[in-house]
């Protein structure tokens, strides 16, 4: 505790009168943020100990959205699990589906047709844009700017409408299936994707002018919640959090899966244009730059697409060989890992399905980030790691 009598201008002799010292007794105040706090992006409860405005400690309490997803999956057949993994990160369902499906395909040894792989990349990159738009909108909302939220939702809506056309759902798609994708895109829909990109690309510059270099926004986020690269490795952080600290790591580039090695794109890292590497502003700017890279990838997909089948040869009843795989893919919020264990070909169900969720990892960094921050900066820190509680609690 800080000794209040060490400040300049205080009486030279410290009073020893009992009544005064008793009044000056300081204690930490326990404050519960959540589970229904708008700044926690869902049902996260963070118990914070505050010393006046300064956070001394933060203890996240998880589990308010725990739906025993891993237990449920042990009683479902391999195809039946897909709608359940949808509900992990409900803002990036396509990425969740693809990681799970890729794990099953790796065990099964299925060959996926080229058009299906390209369509998967197309949908996942569109999903990444939608997810980052949501992150952008809600982050600005956390910091008190309302209008960016409306801009972001306007554009996100256009992507969701496209997804609704191809899969029938706006949020939880069940679109990427084992062996391929459920539905082919028509040429007319693909034209609309490229029209959307043409209209959307200038919009992103508008967001930069509106938010990224906004003086109030920069003041709120620069030099706040700094995480070094060593911290990121210690806590196993991935995705925009790791890249915001200035480490150029992206699974799509460093351990390429699917057809990503054919594509030409950059891996944006924190620019330190404002603030320093690893602070909230740099984590934010990585997401905004990634949107542009996704646009680049989608344009290349549209050029590469050729007519063909969208579903490979998959047995009617899927039975996997005895063993396990661990599949990692780059999702909007970081690396999702699926540890899938099969008991052998007698069983139609997964023996064990463990989801390594990037958001769960990032929540575990909050107690490390919090001490010494102002309460308002702590809100900025929670927003900058961009968590979705569906994925944290599973």
């Amino acid at each position: 505790m800080m000794n209040k009598w060490d400040i300049p201008g205080a009486p030279a002799e410290k009073p020893t009168h009992n009544a005064i010292t008793e009044k000056l007794k300081t204690d930490l105040l326990t404050l519960n943020m959540g589970p229904q706090h708008p700044a926690t992006h869902g049902v996260l409860r963070v118990e914070i100990k505050t010393d006046s405005e300064v956070v001394a400690a933060a203890i996240p309490h998880l589990g308010y959205l725990h739906r025993c997803m891993e237990k449920h999956c042990e009683n479902l057949d391999y195809r039946g699990v897909i709608p359940f993994v949808d509900r992990l990160d409900y803002l990036a369902s396509m990425s969740m589906e693809w990681t799970y499906v890729a794990a099953v395909e790796k065990m099964l040894g299925t060959e996926v047709p080229r058009r299906a792989e390209l369509l998967r990349i197309l949908t996942v990159e569109l999903q990444r844009i939608a997810s980052h738009l949501m992150a952008f909108g809600t982050y600005a909302l956390d910091l008190g700017a309302f209008s960016p939220f409306l801009y972001a939702f306007d554009e996100r809506e256009k992507i969701l409408r496209l997804f609704e056309e191809i899969s029938g759902a706006r949020l939880l798609y069940n679109y990427i299936w084992i062996g391929g994708v459920w539905n082919d895109w028509t040429d007319e829909q693909l034209t609309r994707v490229s029209e959307f990109l043409d209209a959307f690309e200038p919009e992103t510059d508008k967001y930069h002018d509106l938010v990224s270099v906004n003086k109030i926004f920069v003041e709120r986020t620069a030099h706040v919640g700094v995480l070094s690269v060593e911290d990121c490795f210690a806590y196993g952080a991935t995705g925009p959090v790791l890249r915001g600290s200035g480490y150029k790591w992206d699974l799509r580039k460093n351990m390429p899966y699917s057809l990503y090695s054919e594509f030409d794109f950059d891996v944006p890292v924190g620019t330190a244009e404002h603030g320093e590497l690893g602070d909230c502003w740099n984590r934010y700017i990585v997401r905004m730059l990634e949107v542009k890279e996704s646009i680049k990838i989608i344009r290349q997909v549209l050029q590469k697409l050729e007519p063909g089948s969208v579903m490979g040869k998959v047995p009617k009843i899927i039975k996997l060989p005895k063993g396990e795989v661990y599949m990692r893919q780059e999702c909007p919020r970081g690396e999702l890992g699926i540890h899938l264990v099969s008991e052998g070909t007698d069983s139609k169900e997964p023996y064990r399905l463990k989801v390594k969720s990037p958001c769960f990892t990032h929540v575990s960094m909050l107690p490390h980030m919090a001490p010494g921050q102002m309460v308002a900066d702590f809100v900025a820190s929670i927003g900058s790691i961009d968590i979705v509680l569906g994925e944290v609690d599973r």
Binding site: L62, G63, H66, C68, E70, K71, E74, K106, M107, G109, F233, A234, Y235, G236, L242, Y247, K248, W249, N254, M255, P321, K322, G323, E324, V325, Y326, R328, E335, G337, H339, V341, Y351, R352, K354, K356, F360, T361, V363, S364, H368, D393, R394
Partner: protein, 190 residues
Amino acid sequence: MLNELVSKINSAVSGANASLLTPEDSKLESSILVDAKKIHAVAEFLKKSKIMNALQAISGVDYVEFIEVVYIFGNFDIANPGQLLLKARITDRVNGNIDTISDLFPAADYQERECFDMLGITFNNHPDHRRILCPDDWEGFPLRKDYVAAKNYNGMEVFPEGKMNMADREFIVRQEMIKKAQEAQSGKVQ
């Protein structure tokens, strides 16, 4: 490559008894099994020798004869990216315990708490050994294969008869009746 790592672990950590587990199907992942008592030393070796620089997840699998704790490491080195599945087996289902590695990899803190919550493995010397996803007063460990769902929780009945969604059940019963009728009909035709 994993073979070399096995011999490296065996020479660096005495009593680790590292062995390579290879699946019958070559598509699947190989892993390294080590002695549960030496897990801290092995993790320390992996970190100090810079073979793996980050812990990604700790997964647990209940194989009934033993419970397997799977440490999933990742190497986030741009020149030499990779991942490793390191396993330790625990045979004691009642007092099963293993040393924590959260002092080496802070990421293990929450992952070990989840492993305890779901499979009931105690992590010795863990700084904050509590349940994480289930409520603190939850009984049993849900991801064990012998787990039986409780009938009561805090005095509340789980799945009370009167509040079950009977429409679902009626639907299933009707489907069964239709199926039986169809079978009977097709039997007559033959």
